[in-house]
């Protein structure tokens, strides 16, 4: 089995199993190319799988993401390595060689049935990164309920080596002797679909994230709105109270030279409006206020969606938030400049959501050994012919798809991923090998 993995040949290496990586892989596979999809996380699905509903259609994100995920996972032309990282890529003649590290999950994927017996007996609790630290998880765990593959993994750094999981596993899938495996892959083209990173709200200290208990970031709120949510309802973390006066601070970490990111992240206005609409549904008595600079409701159906939220009663305040402070009862005072009235004002809220923006994923350049793919001014992968060949990068045979090149919403990521698959296929056909 392991020998089979060594020195394997594929047509295309796709790095990143989020929505863009999946779309590119599926298109290529449907056009008859052999694809290796490498995902660094335990499951494919990227960020989209963790979202609640998506704007402007309010479709359930999982309803859209899961069929695509299982189609990707089942496609005969797609091989997936999860929990794996691309160590280096280098050119070899007309082809590329990459070394991929399959990291040990200490659970044999093919044996694990996802029954979670191990998870229940594990005595270790650590913050659950898939719930953005709102609750804990075990050291051995099925990452999240919609994970694909839906099998357990052991977080060895937090494991106390008690062996309880191994004893209880009905299929003897747990194997502490697993080691990292290095696999050499040959391929003709690569798609970088490594996505974006969220702005770390700690880097905007005037908003008090991490210090004030009821300042959360937008992904934490997103999780609170998902049916598989960490709490039983939308609650504020400080004391489990249902909030009744929620504020959104837009452009947290975007359009902000003071944090080094002057770009607009494209999605925060719309996801905040969407969350506000969902909150109005979940908490009918709550007030929701959105502090904004400009509302970027530009896509198909977005403007109509924005209008709808106004008629639902979401309050929009045009003003840049300067500072947030905490009161004794854990409420928050938002200090902002009201642009309509031209003065500095303060308002009290019992929960503040920071609409964090997108930042480039810094892992990309490290994946290349000799020649490195060029980055643009803001460290996103540089598109060298943006209007004619949007997926083309500075290196021949290396293409970019989705938010690795620029912040994008889901529909635009999918289209950009589609474009990359077309460009890759025609490139390979021209290569003629």
């Amino acid at each position: 089995m392991q020998e089979e993995n060594k020195n394997r040949e594929f047509d295309v290496l796709v790095i990143g199993g989020g929505i863009a990586g999946q779309e590119s892989s599926l298109n290529l596979a449907n056009m008859g190319l052999e694809v290796l999809l490498v995902e660094k996380d335990y499951s494919i699905g990227g960020k989209m799988i963790h979202l609640s509903k998506v704007f402007p259609t309010l479709d359930c994100s999982a309803c859209i993401a899961t069929p695509k995920i299982s189609e990707t996972a089942r496609h005969p032309n797609i091989t997936i390595f999860t929990y794996s990282e691309v160590k280096d890529i280098e050119k070899s003649g007309k082809k590329y060689i990459a070394r991929v590290i399959k990291k040990p999950r200490y659970v044999k994927e093919e044996l694990c049935s996802g029954c979670q017996e191990c998870e229940f007996v594990c005595p270790v609790y650590v913050p659950d990164q898939y719930q953005y630290d709102l609750v804990g998880r075990k050291a051995v765990y099925v990452p999240f309920s919609l994970a694909n593959p839906r099998v357990a993994a052991i977080d060895i750094d937090n494991c106390i080596l008690c062996g309880a999981c191994e004893k209880v596993c009905p299929t003897e899938a747990i194997d502490f002797t697993m080691e990292a495996e290095e696999i050499e892959i040959r391929f003709k083209a690569v798609i970088i679909a490594t996505g974006f990173n969220l702005f770390d709200a700690h880097n905007k200290p005037q908003y008090g994230f991490g210090k004030f208990k009821n300042v959360v970031h937008s992904m934490q709120m997103e999780r609170q709105l998902v049916p598989t949510r960490p709490f039983n309802a939308v609650l504020r973390p400080s004391d489990g109270k249902m909030p009744d006066n929620i504020a959104y601070v837009l452009c947290t970490g975007s359009r902000d030279k003071s944090v080094g990111n002057p770009l607009c992240s494209q999605v925060c206005c719309m996801y905040s409006i969407k969350q506000a609409q969902l909150l109005m549904g979940a908490l009918p008595l709550a007030d929701v206020t959105i502090y904004y600079i400009n509302i970027r409701a530009f896509g198909k159906g977005f403007c109509e969606f924005y209008q709808q939220s106004k008629t639902m009663g979401v309050e929009f305040v045009k003003g840049k938030v300067a500072q947030i402070t905490e009161t004794e009862n854990d409420n928050l005072i938002v200090r902002y400049e009201d642009i309509f009235e031209g003065k500095v004002k303060e308002a009290e809220h019992d929960l503040v959501v920071l609409a964090v923006g997108a930042l480039p994923n810094p892992d990309v350049p490290d994946m290349f050994k000799n020649e490195k793919v060029e980055l643009g001014e803001f460290k996103y992968v540089k598109q060298v012919d943006r209007f004619a060949c949007p997926a083309r990068t500075s290196m021949e045979g290396v293409f970019v798809s989705g938010t690795a090149a620029v912040p994008l919403d889901i529909p635009d990521s999918i289209l950009s991923a589609g474009a990359a698959s077309s460009e890759v296929n025609s490139y390979i056909k021209k290569l003629g090998i």
Partner: protein, 130 residues
């Protein structure tokens, strides 16, 4: 032996509501074991005769776990399924069956909690009105 409770036939849909029912099991959310699922491609494809047949055969209630607005086939799915419900309930009245024994709710692919709640309350209703 105690009364095992009412028998419910659930029509779920392959891509949307059945995954939610699966997820309910995955999360070990409990509901009445006497709720049985038949999967169809889309909730707008359920024939009233099947529902009537289920009552004839002795089911106490029928629950349609509809696609709602997440339907992959038709944006008008909610209305179409509702139409099926209305038509069937008319037939039920004609035959002296309480129309409330047929229930429908949109269940998205992760709406496990609502599903369990619906089945519990439906089951309660059926027990009380037996």
């Amino acid at each position: 032996m105690t009364n095992p409770g009412p028998k419910i036939l659930v029509f779920s849909t392959e891509k949307i509501s059945d995954p939610a029912i699966d997820l309910a099991g995955l999360l070990k959310m409990h509901y009445q074991a006497r709720a049985y699922t038949i999967i169809v491609p889309c909730s707008s494809a359920i024939k009233p005769r099947w529902v009537m047949f289920a009552f004839e055969q002795g089911f106490d209630g029928v629950f349609i776990a509809a696609d709602g607005t997440d339907c992959p086939y038709d944006t008008a799915c909610t209305d179409k399924t509702a139409q099926i419900l209305t038509n069937t309930q008319k037939q039920m009245k004609e035959r002296g069956i309480d129309p409330a024994r047929l229930k429908m709710a949109a269940i998205c692919s992760v709406c496990s909690e609502p599903f369990v709640k619906y089945i519990k309350s439906f089951s309660e209703y059926l027990s009380q009105n037996n």
